[in-house]
Assembly symmetry: C3
Homo-oligomer: 351 residues x 3
């Protein structure tokens, strides 16, 4: 795709400064801009790059006035960062999209498939499954018995959805993600363990995104629920009977153990663990590598460490922890001093 400065300015409702016939075919970061690239200058600390870049067009703030000569054509807009995101969306929307149902897919005659879907090679859709419309089901996906999938759902290559799980609309699951594997439920019988059958399912509500190689287990009974608007990064794990509240976001390697409920609008950093059978209040922030070991009732808290504590306290402790070896030595010194003082005083007393 080739775009002229004039076309872009018109789309962004911006103003061209320079050659309005300049054309670009690609995006680039301003520090890497080459001829034919479209770049953005949003953060003032990168301003110096604009005087040396080989990019053909740079989108800048309408407040920007160059301190020296700029080779690139400029497009001035109110908010360059927003303009950047808008153009990315336009770019992606204009890319050719995969379409049609592959003859190499294995689709049960007892499945119900909506319209305008892409279903790739070697994908399996089992009996009783229902797929809405405008979905993109990439190759090598597995959609089990009776699975329900809404509209505008994208399942990347190799996603597996077990029997009976339910997905809403506007969902994207990245490659290798597994929905509905059995919850980890065993009852001890002597020295060994007997499996507790897991007959529930997983419900994924609208507007949920998951990264690659995540695992969301079905519940023992009832449903494991990933609520509306949740965004999970790669390699996240939600155990049986968990719930992740609306609009909560979590970075990679989140582990939520069985039956725990995470609230709405939480922000969870990477490699966080949440033990089983607890709940985490809405709008909780959890720092990376933290382990939440008990219910958090108060909203808007921020936690770090294992077992996690208030993050400010954690930081203060961390600073002082580094002084521990010195504290230990000083304490020994103090003990000696106290002993000496005692001795001196005893001498006085016996005088």
């Amino acid at each position: 795709m080739e775009f002229s400065a004039e076309m872009i300015a018109s789309f962004l409702k911006g103003e061209v400064a320079g050659n309005k016939n300049s054309v670009v075919t690609n995006y680039a970061k301003i520090e890497e801009g080459k001829n034919g690239d479209l770049c953005f200058l949003s953060n003032p600390k990168y301003e110096h790059y604009i005087y040396t870049t080989d990019a053909s067009i740079v989108v800048v703030s309408d407040k920007f006035s160059p301190q020296s000569e700029v080779k690139a054509t400029l497009i001035k807009v109110e908010d360059p960062y927003k303009a950047f995101a808008d153009l990315l969306v336009l770019y992606v929307a204009n890319k050719p999209q995969p379409e049609g149902v592959s003859e190499k897919a294995s689709i049960s005659e007892k499945a119900t498939i909506g319209e305008n879907n892409y279903i790739g090679d070697f994908t399996v859709v089992e009996d009783g499954a229902k797929i809405g419309s405008n979905c993109k089901i990439y190759p090598q996906v597995y959609i089990g018995l009776g699975v329900k999938i809404g509209d505008n759902v994208t399942l990347r290559p190799g996603v597996k959805i077990y029997e009976g799980c339910v997905l809403g609309n506007n969902i994207e699951l990245h490659a290798g993600t597994i929905i509905g594997s059995d919850g980890f439920g065993y009852a001890p019988v002597g020295d060994s363990y007997e499996k507790i059958p897991q007959i529930g399912n997983v419900i994924i509500e609208d507007d949920v995104d998951m990264g690659s190689n995540c695992t969301i287990d079905r519940s023992t009974m009832g449903s494991t629920i990933i609520h509306k608007g949740v965004k999970l990064d790669n390699l996240c794990h939600c155990a049986h009977n968990t719930e992740i509240g609306e609009n909560t976001v979590a970075a990679a390697f989140l582990g939520v153990a069985g039956s725990s409920k995470v609230g709405k609008n939480c922000v969870i950093a990477g490699q966080v663990g949440i033990v089983g059978h607890i709940s985490v209040a809405d709008r909780t922030t959890i720092g990376s590598l933290a382990g939440i070991t008990r219910t958090i009732k108060e909203e808007n808290g921020s936690y770090l460490g294992f077992p996690s504590i208030d993050s400010n306290l954690f930081k203060r402790i961390h600073v002082i922890q580094k002084k521990l070896p010195d504290m230990y030595t000083e304490m020994r010194t103090m003990q000696k001093e106290i002993a000496k003082l005692k001795e001196t005083i005893e001498k006085f007393e016996t005088k």
Copy 2:
């Protein structure tokens, strides 16, 4: 499937109180029971739900006597929790099971396949592989050259078993789990690394279950061994030449580094790491996010933290750690007081 109260009571050897012709088609938690649902009341703290539930049938203890009117039909049994598990097993056993060998699978003529197996679409079985009987091999599974698989083995969609690995009987591996990828063995050569070929395999003994997206590496020579009765949750990793002892259970994200041996009947919580070339005694309990950094010889120990220590000591330290900022301040105060006392005493002495 539809079951009457009479049928269920007869299976559970229980007694019906209420309409013995009540029918149910589904399980539910008592707090979510609707018309047509079968529920259980095992934990007395949920008793209040029984007076309001819309469930059609509730299984209760034969010691239970209602404090007010109950709409549902009751089935009285000795142990409602055990009855629940028994019925779940019955329910799962009665579900229609996938069967037959798909024509869309690619099965080598040089493979040996037993009887009464299900092999799904797009599954690959390579030369020399041997599969027992009563197995369920779901779609998109890969079974490499010469792999041996026993009876009653379930491999969920997308499981991959590399060449030469050996699985016993009564095993279930969930979707995306990888058995037999190369161990992470490299020899430094100057600044770069040369791969040490990994020519061993993985042996998985009887009655082992693994969750989804686990990775078990083949050994350099000999075998990585997952012993009888081990249960691993999702996203667990066992490196080359490791062994996990009989009936050990581990929650998600376990990482066992090369050549380490975990004992029998250990209980391992989530996100635990075990460094390489050590061993962990039988019946060890390891808390979540702990890192085991040295051999544990004594059985029945319990560990937390990194590097992990006795879990009681860990908890005591954690309590006092929160007082560290105060301790630091108090210590400074004490130092001043000692200095003042010294001064005072010196004045005495010079009097």
Copy 3:
């Protein structure tokens, strides 16, 4: 394959002591050697096994002189460990290799495929993809639109490479690894989040190996880069716009958050987290379960803990931490003693 002592000695430029017609068909560890096995004695602490082993041939140092009778044929070489690695390489190279392009693969006519490749069943190669020569693409792999792959690349079963990613030469990716899934980029819009399209790609340079179920995300713009010679273990995650420097090695569960750069020749243990937007200097060593939370500028450092600190300091703190409960008690004692001393002195003063 069957090899005689004479053939092996000739390959290793070693000398036979014993029956030069002894034959072996398999490798084994010396403690497990059976008739027909080839073993190695490199570490003197295993010497005692050589007097009892049933192995047919043992490779030993040319400095080794037996203290009692040895049944096995010996092959004496300068460096038995190097000889072991050389023979493993020979063994692997001599194994029959999969070959040919399966008719059950789905390969676009608009893809370019080199020579002497193996492409397995149910693998998908999309339009515009380019695959070099001497590659082994196992079954159920997905190679997206316009992906470029060099020579001597091995992709194990179920690997997924998204659109536009670029792989160099001599690369091996193990089963279930995902290259090029979307970076985790969202902009908050009120209480919910809007996805920032991820239009970059992933570049994997020559000589890179990855374990199974790794996830490497494409960048927002530009490229996520795994540089030449990097070796990643299973279940590692590199977020969008990250770079891993040449010859860096990392054990399982590494998580590198968005836009961070890890230097060259770093050695990273298991379950390490690196936060976003920082850089880690060349030749840094990071211990297991550590969390790197800020840029490391100095090369050759060694880090442990969360937030990670110098590993020697960490170890000193850890030792003293175990004394914290005692320190707390002693401090209380000291406070009482100081109070008593004060009292005593006050009495003196008022005399």
